[in-house]
Amino acid sequence: MNFKFRRKRISGILTVLPAREQSFVEDMRNFKFSEARSLKLKEVMGYDKHRIVEPGTCVSDLAVAGMEHLFKNGLLHPDEFDALILITQSPDYFMPPTSNVIQGRLNLKHDLLCLDINQGCAGFVIGMIQALSLLEQESINRVVIINADVLSRKTSPKDRNSYPLIGDGASITVVERDTEDSVIHANLKMDGTRSNVLMIPAGGLRQPSSLETALLEDVGDNNLRARDHLHMDGSAVFNFVQMEVPPLIENLLKHAGATMNGVDYFFCHQPNRFMLQKLADKMKVPYAKMPSNVVEHFGNSSGVTIPTAIAFNLQEPLLQKKLRVCLAGFGVGLTWCAMLLDLGPLNFNTIIEY
């Protein structure tokens, strides 16, 4: 389905990454694989190091640190936004919403719509669609979108399929009305019949966590994980991305009356370098226009990878000028969505450490 929004813009992006860095070579000690084979995986997929929270760190901790940084540096005023949208799959609690926990910890005003959205790798674009829709309301002048996940805490260190790529982090994106007559196009698709491709089987009410669901099981290929852990069917995800994402972006551009060449950068969700380069090959986009370097430096932090890619690759340019960018998120749900917009000049576009 297509979306179209007028006179709205992103005014700033801040990414908060855990200071703790873990290397693939350290991870390897937990895998039941030969060293040569693990190093091959590193080379093919583009794994190197990733950012992992300290034990006990929660989504609201990263979010509050980021918000306080913005307040302290005069980049955002606590009273001058009217909605706070948190997109996460690793909330502090089942209830209350973690967005309210953040509101409370920051002592924010009561005239504030707090909303948790359960979304993952497509979460940046989903959050944008939600924020842009809210900005149609007269009473909502500015929206803060927080993407945050600490999924390393739900991933088995003995699961070579998931652990080396997972990363934690949070990003804060400020969206507001634009004085220019700008247009943002988006395209979204979902398919719940494939919802089991990316899931944490236990811990909800269908299969509550128990001693049994915490037991590591041999899931084949020498990987061990529990039902409490994140499960990713890597090859199914690969096929999904290669099959669904190129036509999605094609349709988005067609609907917007734009062309591939007219796009300065494609900022896709960052599952790993391998998948992104295959995607670029398929779409005939030069690698330089589709950054794929987030996982090797920071890991895949779900909905946080797009803002991380933006800040890591274009921090300075986007403070100075406007670029035409296409964003694409894809993952859990399954969900795949893309957005075409003018980005910049931004008020801020940085990465800080927690």
């Binding site: 399929n161 290929d221 090859s235 295959k278």
Partner: protein, 74 residues
């Protein structure tokens, strides 16, 4: 489909000199989930077909894999 070329690509993925049609895939040291993923990426990029990991896992010999890709092309 040029089968020799397909086997050459498979040999590259498996990090061996040569793959012939009678080779049993499981006998290769490097036949694991990473190779399976590489095979389905190769099938997609070079032959324009989507094969699923389950389909690859049920294949025994290199020749069967070539046939699987070829059948999907039709």
């Amino acid at each position: 489909m040029n089968k020799l070329e397909f086997f050459r690509r498979l040999a590259e993925i498996l990090n061996v000199e040569e793959v012939t049609e009678g080779n049993v895939l499981k006998d290769f040291d490097e036949w694991d989930s990473l190779s399976v993923l590489s095979v389905l990426a190769m099938a997609d990029a070079k032959y324009g077909v989507v094969i699923h990991a389950d389909e690859i896992r049920s294949v025994v010999k290199a020749a069967d894999l070539a046939e699987l890709v070829e059948a999907k092309q039709k």
